[in-house]
């Protein structure tokens, strides 16, 4: 664990780690699209996975969420919101694309 950030204030190290990870996770999908490295479907999948990872990085390093210190009610609010989003967004897309498919 000895790296150039050793000895820095813990707060600064946390923000810089999050910032560096976010930069990398942003550069990869933009690079994929700009230089047309992958075919369409794998590229879309990669973008989606990297976006989810980057959201988790932001939650961890910028919003300081973690399973140990964040109060349980905040985590419940987050999980409940994620559950609602899953049902409403997933349900809407399922219904609409099924409809689209049937009308073709």
């Amino acid at each position: 664990m000895s790296n150039p950030t050793h000895g820095m204030a813990p707060g600064l190290r946390i923000y810089l780690t999050g910032f560096t990870l976010a930069l990398i996770l942003t550069a990869i999908p933009f690079g994929l699209v700009a230089f047309e490295i992958l075919p369409r479907t794998p590229a879309l999948l990669t973008i989606a996975v990297l976006a989810i990872v980057q959201v988790l990085v932001h939650l961890r390093y910028f919003l300081h969420l973690d399973l140990k210190h964040t109060p349980r009610e905040n985590l419940f609010a987050l999980l409940f919101a994620a559950f609602l989003i899953f049902i409403m967004v997933g349900g809407s897309l399922w219904i609409m694309f099924d409809l689209h498919h049937r009308m073709m």
Binding site: G11, T26, P29, L44, A51, T70, A77, I85, L93
Partner: protein, 204 residues
């Protein structure tokens, strides 16, 4: 360590960010953020359903400029980092440094809004108005809603900078700054969704 900082005039709780105590007090604000996330999620779903309905009008690939989107992304990401540094200055009770970081955050955020307004105006001049197609209605609703949030966030930062100058770095002002930080970082998270769902697949 905590005993020493209690006696200081600004007396931020020791221990990094003291997340436990702060987030307990921010539960109400957290509930607001989650409900805002649900609103954004539904606007995202609407966009995804309508994103190919061009109605013979301009397509996403014709309209989107990846360089501009990358610039917007970088401005917002750097502004998230500068807000993080502002939070650290706040915890040290250093008002001058806190104000400098907030000024930088406002500058980066304003740059983002300026780029976005430029993008919207360019599209509208080219005939790609919100009423041209379902795709454009959904695009302006989603990206415009986020831009509106960022603009409100900028006003909010300016208001708290005023409070910092007039009232100083008191506990209530610090508490407000903490929630503003949550809001600002939340907006950057929404932007990850926007470039990953709207711009990159649109150009691909």
């Amino acid at each position: 360590m905590s005993a020493a900082s209690q006696s200081a005039p600004v007396a931020m709780p020791a221990g990094f960010l003291d997340t436990e105590r702060r987030s307990k007090r921010a539960l109400g604000f957290w509930v607001y953020l989650m409900s805002d996330a649900i609103i954004f999620a539904l606007v995202f779903a609407t966009y995804v359903v309508l994103s190919r309905n061009y109605a013979g009008g301009p397509t996403a690939a014709e309209l989107f400029d990846l360089k501009r989107t990358f610039g917007e992304t970088m401005l917002l990401l750097f502004s998230s980092a500068t807000f993080g540094f502002a939070t650290l200055a706040m915890l040290e009770g250093n008002r001058a440094r806190l104000l400098v970081w907030l000024v930088l955050t406002v500058a980066l955020g304003a740059g983002f809004v300026a780029l976005e307004i430029g993008e919207f105006l360019g599209m509208i001049e080219g005939g790609a108005t919100p009423d041209r197609s379902a795709f454009l209605s959904a695009f302006f609703t989603l990206v415009g809603l986020h831009g509106l949030h960022v603009s409100v966030g900028l006003v909010w930062i300016l208001v708290l900078m005023g409070q910092l100058l007039i009232k100083g770095l008191t506990r209530p002002v610090a508490s407000r700054l903490f929630r503003l930080g949550l809001f600002w970082h939340f907006l950057d998270i929404i932007w990850i969704g926007i470039f990953s769902v709207v711009y990159l697949p649109g150009v691909l």
